[in-house]
Each structure stands twice: as structure tokens, then as C-alpha cells.
């Protein structure tokens, strides 16, 4: 069995979808897949509802300015303040493309390992309780150990 690792740095809807389509495809090819979420990519894993946690003023501000979860992400191009993302989601629904939320659920069902970078979480003031269930929390060594065994590594 081969292994694939994907670093998800971007919090853009289109890039997140590309990452999850590759991850689901690889898992369906029988590969072990690890996705490592860092910086803006962490927003993909945020729960859509607000979670009450203790934060500093700056952390609070930061948290409010970033999209909360897969449903609220914008496009990397032609976003037009969210209008572009809405249009893209409408078209993709019509063409029967899985939503990002569905892709995440499928990835979990296929055994894709999702890891949230704890350093980025600390910097951005994101707490474990604010992220979706069924994910791991780790640092760069965990990712590197996985990458050592992998024959594909993407940075998205």
C-alpha cells in the first residue's frame, strides 16, 4: 500500500475541494492518506457554529474575521466578496459535484487521516473544541514522519 500526504495551507474553497478530491481519489485507489491542515487551511475544519471558548481580545478578533467552516469559504479567484463562491456552489450543485462538506465526510469514511497543526492553532487562537470531530492534533514531526513513508506530497 502506498501513502500520500497533502499539506492544506490554503483556506480557499476551490483549493480545499481540489485537496479533498485528490485525497478521496487516493483513498479509493487503496492508498493511505494523511492531510495536514495549517494556517488558513485550519478554517476548513472549523465547526460552522460558534463555540464558546475563552480567548484573548486579539484571538477573538482573528477568529471573527476568518471563515467558520467549509460552507463559508471563498474562492481563490473571482470571489467578488462571496458572490463568486455562491455562484460556483450553485453550478457545482447543478452538475452534481459533491460539496466540500460531503467530501470531508467521505474522506473520513474512507479512513483519510486529518491532522490539525497545533502551532497554527495556537497562533490563530483556534481551540480543539472549535474544530470538527474525528481529527488528530499534531506538529510538523508527525507530518514529516508520514511524508517519509509517502510517495506523493502536495502543498495546497
Amino acid at each position: 500500500m502506498a501513502k500520500k500526504t497533502i499539506i492544506v495551507f490554503s483556506g480557499d474553497l476551490d483549493k480545499a475541494m481540489a485537496a479533498f478530491i485528490i485525497a478521496n481519489g487516493a483513498a479509493a485507489m487503496g492508498d493511505e492518506v494523511t492531510m495536514f491542515f495549517t494556517f488558513w487551511g485550519l478554517n476548513i475544519l472549523r465547526k460552522p457554529e460558534g463555540v464558546k471558548v475563552k480567548k484573548s481580545f486579539l484571538e477573538n478578533m482573528f477568529g471573527k474575521m476568518m471563515p467558520r467552516g467549509a460552507e463559508r469559504l471563498g474562492l481563490s479567484k473571482m470571489n467578488f466578496g462571496g458572490l463568486g463562491a455562491k455562484m460556483m456552489k450553485y453550478i457545482m450543485k447543478k452538475k452534481n459535484v459533491n460539496t466540500l462538506g460531503e467530501l470531508i465526510e467521505n474522506a473520513k469514511a474512507l479512513g483519510v487521516r486529518l491532522i490539525a497543526c497545533t502551532m497554527s492553532m495556537d497562533v490563530m487562537g483556534i481551540r480543539k473544541e472549535e474544530l470538527i470531530d474525528g481529527i488528530d492534533f499534531a506538529g510538523v514531526a508527525t507530518y514529516l514522519a508520514e511524508a517519509d513513508e509517502a510517495n506523493l506530497n502536495l502543498f495546497i
Binding site: 481519489g25 483513498a27 479509493a28 485507489m29 487503496g30 452534481n96 467521505n106
Partner: protein
């Protein structure tokens, strides 16, 4: 040995190969999975999938609006 039908019509990439993967996982060796898909990429994808997972592609037909693949679990 049985034949298992998988309707992956209307599913976009990577839906059809995910469905095929799940069907094979639950099948016994020798079982044949018949996948019907409308995703145009599936024609090449199923060949790559079989090569990689070492399952046997018995037949592959592009009927224009639907692609039908027969895969035997090894």
C-alpha cells in the same frame, strides 16, 4: 461468485471510483462488479484504478451517455 451492480451515474469524479472501491471491499474474490458511470473521466480512471489495485478489468464500454465497466475482484 456473484455479479454486483453499482450505479454511479450522475456522480462526478472521484465518485465512481469511490463507489467501485467500496463495492470491491465488500465483495468476495471472483465476484464481478458492474459499474455504470456518466463521468467522462471514468473511462481512463477505471483502467488506472484496476492497474493500481490489481483487480481485473473484464470489459469496458463507452456507450456515449454511459460508461460500463466490469471488474473482477482478484
Amino acid at each position: 461468485m456473484k455479479e454486483i451492480k453499482v450505479d454511479a451515474k450522475c456522480l462526478q469524479c472521484p465518485g465512481p471510483i469511490v463507489q467501485l472501491f467500496n463495492a470491491i471491499k465488500n465483495a468476495d474474490p471472483g465476484d464481478v462488479i458492474v459499474v455504470e458511470a456518466t463521468d467522462k473521466g471514468f473511462y481512463n480512471d477505471v483502467q488506472a484504478w484496476c492497474k493500481k489495485t490489481k483487480n481485473e478489468l473484464l470489459s469496458l464500454e463507452d456507450k456515449g451517455d454511459v460508461i460500463i465497466a466490469k471488474v473482477k475482484k482478484v
